[in-house]
């Protein structure tokens, strides 16, 4: 530094090369408030601003040269601070007080031209403050520095406030009425046995996916506001006030972000609260959470990122770190909820909500990696989100696998009346169907990734897979996936459980009907859904069908073979002649047997219409021709009239009609018919 060559002078003698405006100005040690007269005068001389700026720029150049090339060139720092500096200071001061004179409304941004003069002037003030600091021992410069940095501080303070006001000036804040309503709580998989519910649920799910499109205007700033904020931020950063600027920004945005979440209905719950919450309430919270996360990944984060980038266009690092910090705080909050849900007691009815959450996080993760620049925060969030997702996946897998235990533990000793479909069958199949219809891919994925954490030992799965490998080749489908294997194993368990339950029926025919009912129910449900059908495979369906046919045959045999024996043409002859007593006996026992069967089996239930009619058709197909032919051949041997009437109680048409009564679940049909 070369100050010593230039003994300090009193800074009275400001350069005279600028208009007279500053002539009244004496001394650099100004009090902050200029008197009214000065202000007036300065204000009127704003026209001379370009000239003043030029002067100041020249001065700054001299300072730079002096400070920078100290030793090589012998340029010495100017001993005096030109008048233009004080002139500029006054102008800026007056500009600030002009701005501040405006009450109750936005001050910056009303007159863009004035704003840009102000910012231009500030640039010089901040340049002066920086440069003059390099000559600390020059008293004239030091006192000028005191002056400029004081003005700079005032200006920054003003801009800081203005920045804050602009930040608060969002659409959301302007609108007092809240358009966005709390999302309706999603209905859930409560009525598994209610067949109709499936469809409603499907619709529910689709609707929910669409509803997130509405709010497009986040964060809701007008382009002017954005541009003004950008100008202010740029000015503050270049003046070295970036910490204040960032702080104002991040506080305001956090508040805004939080109220955006509040509007979506997001509750801040402690993990302890969530842990103690009833499932019904938690379901509602989960629905809200899903909306919130979707909104975050599709709208909020994107909007926030863009806002940061636009406002802090002058400093990329800053905009990134501002965004990352906000997103990190939000994301951790969001992920904590997922962690808390995972901690709650596992139960079958929670599977679908947990899968919903799993899917939501799965979709959030790419949003995180896309919207975040590389770096520590990004990595941290990525692994946090992945960990939360994994935990949800593990829970989903373990709940799904729990189904096996539920089936195993269902060991009720009371048979379902009338051989109808067992509630367990209904429950399990609907559960599986629902799971596959809506979550097949997700479950596949979850099983692929998280099965190792589930109860099932790995070897089991491997073996299952091997065993099924053969089937699949015939099928022409791909290798069995872990989820598929689990599905198969659940089916097998269900089968053996149902088989066990069938043993509760003493009547072998009813046992067959029960097996057919359940088997048919399963098969129909599975064929009715592309997803689960595909997973179970055609081979499996074929096997099931032939299994059902077998039960059908068994039923035929169990129920009707004895009846058919009565109608046999053999054994009626005694000594080459038709024996009337034997014939009468035959008719009698046929009538009794048939009536008995009719009575019992009309009360049995086959709810599947097709199966019901198949059964009736097959019975008719055997019985009617046999009866017709027996009747046709042996009727003549009975005396017409009373005897015939006594033994031939039914015409073939009657038999046909009565067969139509079977499996109706209607015990009174016989009485009605009589």
């Amino acid at each position: 530094m070369m100050e010593k060559n230039h003994p300090p002078k009193k800074s009275r003698s400001f350069g005279r090369n600028i208009s007279d405006a500053a002539s009244s100005d004496q001394g650099s040690h100004h009090s902050v408030e200029a008197n009214d007269k000065d202000t007036e005068k300065d204000a009127s001389s704003w026209d001379s601003l370009p000239q003043v700026l030029q002067e100041v720029d020249r001065f700054l150049d001299t300072l730079s040269t002096a400070a920078g090339e100290d030793e090589e060139s012998n340029t010495s720092p100017p001993s005096e601070v030109p008048n233009s500096v004080e002139l500029l200071s006054k102008m800026v001061e007056s500009m600030i007080s002009k701005y501040n004179a405006v009450k109750n409304s936005m001050r910056f941004g009303k007159d863009p031209e004035k704003d840009s003069s102000f910012l231009n002037a500030l640039k010089r003030i901040s340049g002066l403050s920086r440069k003059l600091g390099e000559f600390p021992s020059n008293p004239s410069m030091a006192s000028t520095l005191n002056r400029t940095s004081s003005i700079l501080q005032k200006a920054m303070s003003f801009l800081d406030e203005e920045f804050r006001l602009l930040l608060d000036d969002t659409k959301a804040n302007r609108e007092s009425d809240e358009k966005i309503q709390k999302p309706t709580k999603q209905s859930s998989f409560n009525n598994l046995n209610n067949l109709e519910s499936d469809r409603c649920l499907l619709e529910d799910r689709t609707n929910n996916n669409e509803s997130s499109q509405e709010e497009d205007e986040y964060p809701g700033f007008s382009p002017e506001t954005i541009s003004n904020m950008n100008k202010i931020a740029t000015a503050m950063i270049s003046a070295g006030y970036e910490t204040e600027c960032c702080m104002a920004f991040s506080i305001s945005r956090r508040t805004a972000f939080r109220s955006a979440l509040d509007k979506l209905g997001y509750d801040h719950l402690s993990i302890d609260d969530i842990h103690k919450m009833s499932w019904e309430s938690l379901e509602g919270e989960i629905a809200t959470w899903i909306t919130v996360v979707k909104q975050c990944s599709s709208v909020l984060f994107v909007g926030e990122r863009k806002l940061c980038d636009t406002i802090f266009s002058s400093n990329r690092t800053m905009s990134r770190s501002l965004f990352s910090n906000l997103a990190r705080a939000v994301a951790i909050q969001i992920l904590n909820f997922a962690e808390a849900v995972v901690l709650t007691k596992r139960a079958a009815e929670k599977l679908f909500k947990i899968l919903d959450m799993y899917e939501t996080l799965r979709d959030l993760i790419p949003a995180i990696s896309e919207s975040y620049p590389e770096g520590e925060v990004s990595n941290e969030l990525f692994s946090e989100a992945t960990a939360a997702k994994s935990r949800l996946g593990e829970v989903a897998v373990s709940i799904f696998c729990e189904l096996e235990n539920s089936i195993k533990n269902d060991i009720g000793k009371t048979p379902v009346a009338s051989g109808a479909v067992h509630p367990l069958t209904r429950y399990v199949v609907n559960y599986l169907k629902y799971a596959c219809d809506l979550y097949k891919d997700t479950l596949e994925q979850a099983f692929q990734l998280h099965l190792k954490m589930a109860d099932k030992p790995k070897e089991d799965v491997a073996e299952d897979q091997k065993a099924r490998g053969k089937d699949d080749k015939e099928d022409g489908t791909t290798k069995t996936s872990p989820f598929q294997a689990q599905l198969m194993s659940v089916m097998e368990l269900l089968d053996s459980n149902i088989e066990m339950k069938s043993k509760l029926y003493r009547d072998p025919s009813l046992r067959c009907i029960f097996m057919m009912n359940n088997g048919r129910y399963i098969l129909q449900k599975i064929k009715g859904s592309t997803e689960i059908h595909q997973l179970m495979g055609n081979t499996w369906c074929r096997k099931r069908s032939s299994g059902l046919r077998l039960y059908h045959k068994n039923y035929q045999r169990e129920t009707w073979s004895k009846v058919l024996q009565c109608l046999s043409h053999e054994g009626l002859q005694v000594n080459g002649k038709i024996s009337k007593p034997v014939l009468k006996e035959r008719f009698k026992s046929f009538n009794t047997m048939f009536e008995e069967i009719h009575k019992t089996q009309s009360s049995w239930v086959v709810s599947d219409e097709q199966l019901q009619s198949e059964l009736r058709v097959s019975v008719s197909a055997v019985m009617i021709p046999a009866y017709r032919s027996f009747l046709g051949r042996f009727k003549q041997y009975l005396d017409p009239g009373r005897q015939a009437e006594k033994y031939i109680k039914y015409q073939p048409e009657d038999i046909e009609n009565m067969i139509e009564d079977l499996f109706d679940g209607n015990a009174t049909s016989m009485a009605r018919r009589r």
Binding site: K154, S252, R254, S259, S270, E339, V342, E380
Partner: protein, 390 residues
């Protein structure tokens, strides 16, 4: 992550040893030895915390780096506990009375620990806010020569900092003026048009916990059913030790870092004195509690060493700023320069330490979640046929 590495090798050691032993007789003896060792380790680790061997001020009691060590200790103890209780053990043992009840209490404590971790995590955000404000002070007062502009800039930041610290102490529970304090420098200034536009928003910096959540109540709930087992209950001891460590660590964190609602913290928990392994913990607890009681009266935002230092420096820099006149006296300036350098050093330590501390808190969080799952699994396995879990 250092803690994890330790844990890995440590677990290996334990489990290998256990495998060797299981085949032999004297299982019970081994068990006793394990528990003996566990007590010793806990005692050793906390002695280290009580009187650090390398006497640098960076590791001072309740400093950021001390807290990080504390969390390391927690992770180590937790791993050792699991190694003793869960790994390689017949699950049916822990799912029967009286252990099952103890484990369920432990699980409940686990859940509360997670909330405390989160609250402290938020609290660290608040500390980072202090740091930012202090950085403004540093960058303003570092400049030479110090002019009125710089001092005014610093004064604004100092005032915000003082208010912010005071409000963190009051925990912002329903305190309507909090937002203003957090928002930097909105007080005064002619442009405060919408000063109170969002009067309902508190604490914009840290995401607050659920309404009504209280750190001190959680600590109280965690410790209220913590009873030292009687002589005969061998396996109950590790559960008790582990819980004590957990509660102590959470308690110390809450005392150090700004946290929602901490009134009466010092009286809510104390480590029993009669147990030999707990002696170092008792020592620490007494020191911290004493400190807490002292500060609670005059108000403090946290016993964190860096915060305390900051509070002191802020006080004196604030006095300087209030009485400043240009040009400043050289002697005063020198003093200020030293203080600013100290403040800068504190900021630097925060800058370097707070993020890792938060990461470590997350590590603890995840570990507790994991452990909880493992314990539940073990309980479920052991109690498959008996009563359902939870």
């Amino acid at each position: 992550m250092r803690a994890t590495d330790n844990q890995g090798s440590f677990l290996n050691r334990i489990s290998i040893r256990r495998n060797q032993v299981v085949s032999m007789d004297g299982n019970h003896e081994q068990e006793l030895e394990d528990i003996e060792l566990f007590q010793k380790h806990v005692s050793d680790r906390f002695s280290d915390l009580l009187s650090p061997s390398d006497d640098t001020s960076a590791d001072a009691l309740l400093s950021i780096s001390w807290l990080r060590k504390l969390l390391d200790v927690f992770l180590c103890c937790e791993a050792e506990f699991k190694a003793i209780m869960i790994m390689g053990r017949d699950a049916s043992l822990i799912s029967k009375p009286p252990l099952d009840r103890l484990f369920h209490e432990l699980l409940d404590r686990n859940v509360k620990t997670l909330d405390v971790c989160n609250a402290v995590h938020h609290g660290v955000d608040a500390v980072r806010h202090f740091q930012k404000l202090a950085e403004i002070v540093v960058s303003a007062l570092e400049q030479r020569p110090i002019g009125e502009g710089q001092v005014r800039r610093a004064k604004r930041a100092l005032n915000s900092l003082i208010t912010a610290m005071a409000l963190e102490d009051k925990d912002g529970t329903g305190n309507k003026s909090t937002e203003r304090a957090w928002s930097f420098g909105r007080r005064g200034g002619s442009g405060a048009v919408n000063k109170d536009r969002n009067p309902g928003q508190f604490r914009a910096i840290s995401w607050n916990m659920a309404k009504g959540w209280s750190a001190s109540k959680q600590i109280q709930a965690m410790s209220s059913n913590l009873v030292a087992p009687r002589g005969g209950e061998t396996l109950a001891l590790p559960v008790y030790i582990s819980s004590t460590v957990m509660v102590f660590v959470m308690w110390a964190l809450v005392a150090a870092i700004p946290c929602q609602e901490r009134s009466g913290l010092a009286s809510h928990y104390s480590v029993p004195r009669q147990l030999s392994w707990a002696q170092p913990m008792v020592g620490l607890q007494e020191k911290i509690a004493e400190e807490w009681k002292k500060k609670e009266k005059k108000g403090c935002s946290g016993l964190l060493e860096e915060i305390q230092k900051m509070e002191k420096l802020v006080q004196s820099l604030s006095e300087f700023a209030e009485s400043f006149q240009f040009p400043a006296e050289p002697e005063r300036l020198e003093e200020v320069a030293n203080q600013v350098a100290e403040l800068a050093e504190t900021c630097k330590r925060m800058e370097e330490g707070l993020f890792p501390l938060q990461q470590q808190l997350r590590e603890v969080f995840h570990r507790v979640v994991r452990s909880r799952a493992e314990i539940l699994e073990a309980l479920e396995q052991g109690g498959k046929s008996s009563t359902p879990i939870m």
